[in-house]
Symmetry: C2
Subunit: 496 residues, 2 copies
């Protein structure tokens, strides 16, 4: 497996819009989608989307320059649910979900945190789609056309996106004459990073941010590159020591079989692949994404890590050796699948979009060195840059995120600067290793759960949610209530 393959597996598959669990790339996430659709509670909540009205904002293509082309505008989609809103007169709050690397549609239901809490806050809900995704693509182009054009995709950046959000939020507030209504932004994963950065860059537009599973410290040299896979390994080891050991042993066994005459064909047969494997690496890629995805989305309702390990541990080892065990893990995860490993898939907007974003500015140096159950694949920046350059004709800017948003010495920097950010995490999520896990100040707070995974807290609540998840959300709500109470007191004092 080449470096970039490892990187893109992680970037595309794991980081991708897992949040709402519906725009997915690999079997890992497809399973989530299946579960998602079959979930009767979710099916009921689908009616929620009827409460949203769709709008389009005439957005500036390029906020930061004044070239003639900068003034081009495009239609950016946002949706409003005013069912629960108090009113502008009472300065009732506005909850804004900041769209991430996918069309916004699925998030209306998937990101239930806002809707679940709208009534008690009398909050207006606004969901804004990220530029270049869904129906928010510049220049009347299709997503593919926009991504193919080097000039057009060049405006697809996080700073432009935050400025989009500021413009739309100010527009909505002006339209509603809701100048004093406080805004709380919510985002998850990449969107969580955007939420925390938005509070830091636009404090005059938002009072506070809930940044769920936002690995804002997984840039530059802040977090060790192997932290992500170290957490995946820990999750599996905690689930089962023998499962972990089988996975450790499997990689060299795949290599060994692949090198035999007809080895790749034998592996294809052994894993009942949907198409013949091209190499042993293809199988290894798949398995790495399976394990990483299971760890990242280790939802307490399904516990995919445990499911896989139960499969592995329950297999009859004498029959097919360690690969038989591994295959049993695959089957346990993909119940009732007609074939495995490489089913037909479509390349999603998230795949393509995040591919570009990670090759331009979102350079997260995730690699595997040691301390893991995986083969070694160090992240080598120079190789990464070369590959991005050959794909896109431009080189990534690996230091831009830390230059523009910061990250180094964050505790020292934000101890006496900024306020009102919740960094929420679940420690089973490998991305939590790049998250903020310590309180930085009185109001820049880390709220994490030992058993949680990626972005659980901002998903819609369910009857079956474990107590620790219920408690995490409750803590977040109490913190936000505190921000609002303080704000209204300040507002009153200023109006007098």
């Amino acid at each position: 497996m080449t470096l970039s393959r490892l990187y893109f597996i992680i970037s595309f598959i794991l980081f991708a819009a897992s949040i709402s669990g519906h725009k997915l790339y690999t079997p890992t996430l497809s399973l989530q989608r299946k579960n998602f659709l079959q979930d009767p509670e979710r099916a009921v909540s689908a009616s929620v989307s009827n409460d949203f009205e769709t709008f389009f904002f005439n957005q500036t293509l390029d906020h930061f320059n004044y070239r003639p082309e900068s003034y081009t505008t495009f239609r950016q989609r946002y949706l409003i649910n005013s069912k629960y809103w108090g009113s502008a007169n009472s300065s009732a709050p506005i909850f804004v979900y900041l769209g991430a690397e996918a069309p916004i549609d699925g998030d209306l239901i998937g990101i239930g945190f806002l809707t679940d809490n709208a009534a008690q806050f009398e909050a207006l809900l606004v969901y804004i789609e990220h530029r270049y995704y869904g129906e928010s693509i510049p220049l009347g182009m299709s997503f593919e056309e926009a991504l193919k054009d080097a000039n057009v995709r060049g405006y697809f950046s996080s700073a432009q996106t935050l400025a989009d959000y500021a413009a739309i939020i100010l527009h909505v507030k002006q339209n509603l004459k809701a100048r004093d209504s406080p805004v709380i932004v919510v985002g998850g994963s990449y969107g969580g990073m955007l939420a925390s950065w938005f509070r830091l860059k636009y404090p005059h537009v938002t009072l506070g941010a809930l940044a769920s599973s936002a690995p804002i410290l997984y840039f530059d040299d802040i977090t060790p590159q192997d932290a992500y896979y170290w957490v995946v390994t820990k999750d599996f080891k905690e689930a089962s020591e023998t499962c972990y050991q089988a996975i450790v042993d499997s990689w060299s066994e795949i290599d060994r079989v692949a090198q035999e005459p007809k080895g790749t064909a034998n592996l294809s047969k052994m894993f009942k692949t949907c198409k013949p494997l091209k190499s042993g690496d293809e199988l290894k890629d798949y398995l790495m994404s399976l394990y990483a995805g299971a760890a990242q989305y280790d939802d307490p309702a399904r516990n995919p890590v445990t499911v896989i390990c139960n499969g592995i541990d329950g297999a009859n080892a004498t029959e097919n050796g360690v690969l038989g065990k591994i295959f049993a893990g695959v089957v346990a995860y993909h119940v009732n699948s007609p074939c495995y490993v490489n089913p037909p898939t479509n390349v999603s907007e998230t795949d393509l979009g995040w591919g570009w974003q990670s090759c331009s500015e979102m350079v997260m140096p995730i690699g595997i060195t040691n301390n893991s159950m995986f083969p070694s694949y160090p992240f080598v920046l120079s190789s990464f840059i070369d590959e991005c350059n050959s794909s896109y004709g431009v080189v990534p800017r690996p230091h831009w995120v830390t230059t523009y948003y910061g990250g180094h010495d964050i505790e020292l920097i934000l101890l006496r600067f900024g306020s009102n950010i919740i960094f929420s995490n679940g420690l089973r999520d490998p991305y939590s290793s790049g998250g903020v896990l310590k309180n930085i100040s009185d109001s820049i707070i880390a709220v994490y759960t030992e058993k949680g995974s990626h972005c659980l807290d901002i998903h819609a609540q369910k009857q079956t949610d474990p107590d620790w998840l219920v408690m995490q959300r409750k803590t977040e709500i109490e913190i936000i209530k505190g921000w609002l109470t303080t704000y209204y007191a300040d507002l009153l004092a200023f109006k007098q």
Copy 2:
């Protein structure tokens, strides 16, 4: 006088690089330059510039996009004085002067605040030139060429400029291995706005900002448009009620004479103009800029407002009526001038550059409605936009500054967000009307003087400085010392 003429008079002449007093547009500022050069104390301090070493940084043209053209780089000039620096080992501080709308050269001596205080802080001094000025012009072009090309001048924006500063400061710190050295940024006027915005946008790059005479609230609808000229009027009225009244009476008299046969020629003769006047408006333009400039730069060593009023009040009114008085004010100001009103001048980089900046994003709605000694010239946004559009082919973005940097409800917003900004002002400076004049929090502080004018505090200290100016600087130094003390204590705690 058209709207734009009023606007540009203010923008170019007054806002312009008054700070270092050497790149000037009108007689008002030429006089300052003359005084500047003749000042023996300043002449001595000219040796200061020998302590600076010049560097060029390979700067990114477009930080916010990833178009192929965005990756173009240009040489940006900065200068370092390390004579006083403690060392990286002792985490000695770094004072950075953020260049504004002029070449940086004159600021090395002119902005003496940094050099004057370097020894006691053991500070490294860095002066960075603003993109598109001086020797920091993209694409190997001359200033005029860059400003003429709609694509090239399109990258001439404040957000790009702040990102330039971040990149250079991080580069300097890395080179010196001075990661823990705290950075204090200093700027005046437009540069003061940049300094305060830089602390708000890049808290991870600078610990604090001294923003001298920064009218960050003179945007959008925050400050009444006639605030600037109201202060000019107040300054003159305080100096002399009869002087004020003569100025009030003069405008209609100029109009009356101009409408007579040979009226313009008579005005030219009466005011000993260097070239024949084209109209009465030309004279009015000049006088408005004279009075506004005198108020803005009402330096206690020269007191130009008093000088002019003494001229006006001392004239023999019976001889030439009110215009004779006005001319006596002009002569009192421009001692020993062979002619007046319209001497030959060169259009400076500041004139051209600020012309573009104010027509793209720095839209400061300064007008004259009432409450002033001037004729009425309301600022009409739609006319302003039309004029900019016809000059540059693009329309200004009058709401961008408040969208990106904020400004509305600043006391409410920054009460619990951000820290370590000094907003210094002198209340005789008409731009103080758009400045921050109240403490916002424990560490976002307003330090102003009743008698001060534009950017006095960051000029080099002089033996003749009045006590209130000495005290203002001392207060600023004490505040900065407080930031540093807190920072070093925090740093120690984090390193343990």
